[in-house]
Symmetry: C2
Subunit: 327 residues, 2 copies
Amino acid sequence: MSRFDEFGLIDRYLAPLAIHPAAAGLRDDVAILATGSLLGDLALNADAIVAGVHFLPGEAPATVAERALRVNLSDLAAKGARPLGYLLTLALTAAEGEAWIADFAEGLAANQSAFGWSLLGGDTVRTPGPLTVGLTALGERASGGMGRGGAHAGDEVWVTGWIGDGALGLAVSLGQTPILDHELAAAARAKFRRPEPRVAFGVALGESGLASAAADVSDGLVADLDHIAVASGLGAAVEAGAVPFSAGGRAAMAADTTWLARLLTGGDDYEIVFTAPMSAAAAISRLGGETGTPVACIGSMTAGRAVRVYDDAGRPICFDRGGFRHF
Amino acid sequence: MSRFDEFGLIDRYLAPLAIHPAAAGLRDDVAILATGSLLGDLALNADAIVAGVHFLPGEAPATVAERALRVNLSDLAAKGARPLGYLLTLALTAAEGEAWIADFAEGLAANQSAFGWSLLGGDTVRTPGPLTVGLTALGERASGGMGRGGAHAGDEVWVTGWIGDGALGLAVSLGQTPILDHELAAAARAKFRRPEPRVAFGVALGESGLASAAADVSDGLVADLDHIAVASGLGAAVEAGAVPFSAGGRAAMAADTTWLARLLTGGDDYEIVFTAPMSAAAAISRLGGETGTPVACIGSMTAGRAVRVYDDAGRPICFDRGGFRHF
């Protein structure tokens, strides 16, 4: 991160976060990770987020940091990978000074404490354009863990948590419909700003060997289940009545029935959708209980080639399957 | 890279570059790298570059790609790390369409062929601001290779290639002084736009165990040697007359003596500065010959705490040690 050293801010705010020995306290541009003590697989994921595109302008820096890390933790969790560390590139505008860095670093620190990983390195530069944060996340797991392509026809489809809260939280944050009461609106906003990646459950699921395939729900449930279906050469049948929705989601659907489709296809839920043989159902429920993670079976994989969602009368629900579009 | 899949460009232009099995053809957001077959250390380096800040606006996309990769390869080379792969985040403006991606991908492909590494994953998003490229580079090496902190007092200081060509090439590219003849000016521009990272030499030097410390020359020779000096708790004495300058650098100094200081402190050379005991001199020269890399001994490490450069009369040359500033 030498280019920013002249401001002295790296040493003060970011170096203390480089707690992994590989980072050598950010005194070097290059992190050196000893691979001998790692589990068999290293999971690597990179994301870029742009102010005004991927987060709301004026969002608190700590929230931006937390969200960026949590989104990447969700990707790792869906692979059953334990968080190891991350490299961070910050392109800052003239508006982001020491106070911004200090607050951003607080978000990083809170996240590291919660999830037990470490800043490993990165780069900090100036940009005339919007603030842009790049993140490469590293996780580790035993060799040959969950992927997207292992589902079999007849496997059950499961999800963690609640589906559609990302879309709901975004709509509320933008001041758009639906009209929710104050408490539900605040909960939806909070879940959008600070998603809860299913790290403990994902790691436990990976170690259990129960799941045949998994993906995180970031593009929307239908699109992400479709990723599993395509990779496995299958289709899927989901019962809308079995999909878990939050109190906010249920209130939104009660006020406006088009919200069913929006919850099922909206992005940014950061839950895990996964498949498993029927024989694993009891063990999966137990895993959910042990990690404090709600889990629900919502359908099954089919020999067809499409992901279909059925209403309570068994009729397929039609909606644009395009999945997630950024605001 | 799912967010950009809607444009179909990932499949067409970037997926063919994901030749490493860890990338699984970019069909998944997360790359899974099996660590069992790796050498002992994984070297990780992240950089962000912004159009108009780190490269000239209007630069050819293939050149932007080549330069971004080569700059990161230089960091890996200074650690003796063999290139393994990279994750790429692209924040593109509306101006960068399919033609831009196609040309950018050609630069990536040319680089991968030349240096034997692979795209591993990434993310492509839209930005209203300037084009921003984030890169996380991965290399591998045997455990416990070269670092910055291992130099001893009395060790000789060596550099590869020519010092100052980065600063010279930038000045020429910006149409600033010095006045060089057409051929030298073209050579300086070319070396700035497409630096030659010392990958083969860096890997060989790391494997040889000859060097006590190494760094890449990216912030300027004086600043990067200072990184070694500080990390080793030492100083250094450099003889200006022993520093290798290119024909362009020598012509610039002949026209304007202030160019000596600019060449010694300018950035973007992407050479390697390293230290080694005097007994290693012959073996180092041989290593340079075997890898086709010019190497020169330019001074030695001292028990002092400063990096000093002396002229032919033995007088210290004074200049601002601030090192590299971006244009």
